[in-house]
């Protein structure tokens, strides 16, 4: 009935470790050996190893031969790299969606995400805001349809996630970002290809600049 394959331990380990890292319960720089992690997760080393290999491929941990797995810190340079790539990819993807002339049904989830962002902002619920923000961006990518692109961007989001939540509370409420989303939806609906790309590009560049400013202001060389 449900096409869900029963969860393997390796998959479970992967998901749990990923969550621990995202939630900063395993903070950047945290190191643990395979036996330690295995003990912590209540399984043997084998599935833990497989999970770690995946997490390494996803850019979340580093496997150091004799010292176990280390949760990668996110430095300002890393964020620059990530946002550089996102700035090249996402505006182009959005422009392609605009060119295709999305239906109202296509746009509905984006509308919803934007409304949620506005609502979250009104309530000063930054976690909800971040969730809706993520949802907006991923929904737009899925609308564009390029699976590989979605995968790449998702991986980059995951890498940047911790820095984003950390800096989110050190800055003014993201009114501009929320307005950007509203503008992007409008341009998508109007099929305005160039405007979509331009606004999205500015949106990304502003986000990057703000984030990097905070990292440097607070001397958060690594996170």
């Amino acid at each position: 009935m449900s096409p869900v394959t029963k969860p393997s331990r390796a998959e479970d380990a992967h998901d749990r470790l990923r969550d621990e890292i995202r939630a900063n319960r395993m903070p950047p720089g945290f190191q643990a050996t395979e036996p330690e992690i295995a003990l912590r997760l209540g399984m043997s080393r084998t599935p833990v190893r497989e999970a770690l290999i995946r997490l390494e491929a996803e850019g979340l941990v580093e496997l150091i031969p004799r010292h176990g797995a280390r949760v990668l810190p996110i430095r300002a340079d890393d964020m620059r790299e990530i946002y550089d790539i996102l700035t090249a990819l996402e505006p182009e993807a959005a422009a392609q969606v605009a060119a295709r002339g999305p239906s109202e049904a296509d746009l509905a989830p984006l509308e919803a995400a934007t409304r949620d962002m506005e609502a979250a902002l009104a309530k000063s619920d930054l976690d909800m805001w971040a969730e809706a923000d993520d949802r907006f961006h991923l929904t737009l990518l899925e609308l564009q349809g390029n699976r590989r692109l979605t995968g790449i961007v998702t991986a980059l989001y995951d890498q940047a996630h911790r820095a984003r939540v950390f800096t989110m509370r050190l800055r003014a409420p993201p009114h501009q970002s929320t307005q950007d989303h509203r503008a992007i939806v409008d341009h998508l609906r109007a099929g305005n290809v160039d405007a979509t790309r331009t606004v999205f590009r500015q949106h990304r560049q502003r986000a990057a600049t703000e984030l990097l400013d905070i990292l440097e202001t607070y001397k958060l060389g690594h996170l």
Copy 2:
């Protein structure tokens, strides 16, 4: 002295399988179980498993629960996805290099790669041409400096590699591509940001169109 860590079996398995796939000795659609591969490589299942997990993350194989690993075919749709992303990423990266004002020392490897392409074309040595082409693109990315970007593009190249070598012999000699490279080097040297981006973009789009035309002409739904 040499910082090379001794090669592990898992690493060896990964490299060898990757080569087999690239060289079409393990053609698209090829399936083998873990014990079969382990036997073939003369090692136990454990390192083979680890290699397969990595290869799956790199988009080269698919792990089918009871049927082993399957070498992923490259369909026209896949190539479209890949070239879409490359078209968004590479021209932007090249433009950034142009903006930075590369030195002659920076440009030398690109010059060399371009010369090699021209020489290969004169000798009708398509393999050499393809090698120089790859080298050009990777060198340019390294010049740009974004490690993540280089990693992403490399993975996409690997995925597209088989389709490229296959179609290479079904088309006219790549004079235009070679000239494009020459033009790109010139624009980089002149620090001509917009021209670099534009030419590179056309370069990629033309390559994509040609490749997809061939795939459709020859009804190579999958490769």
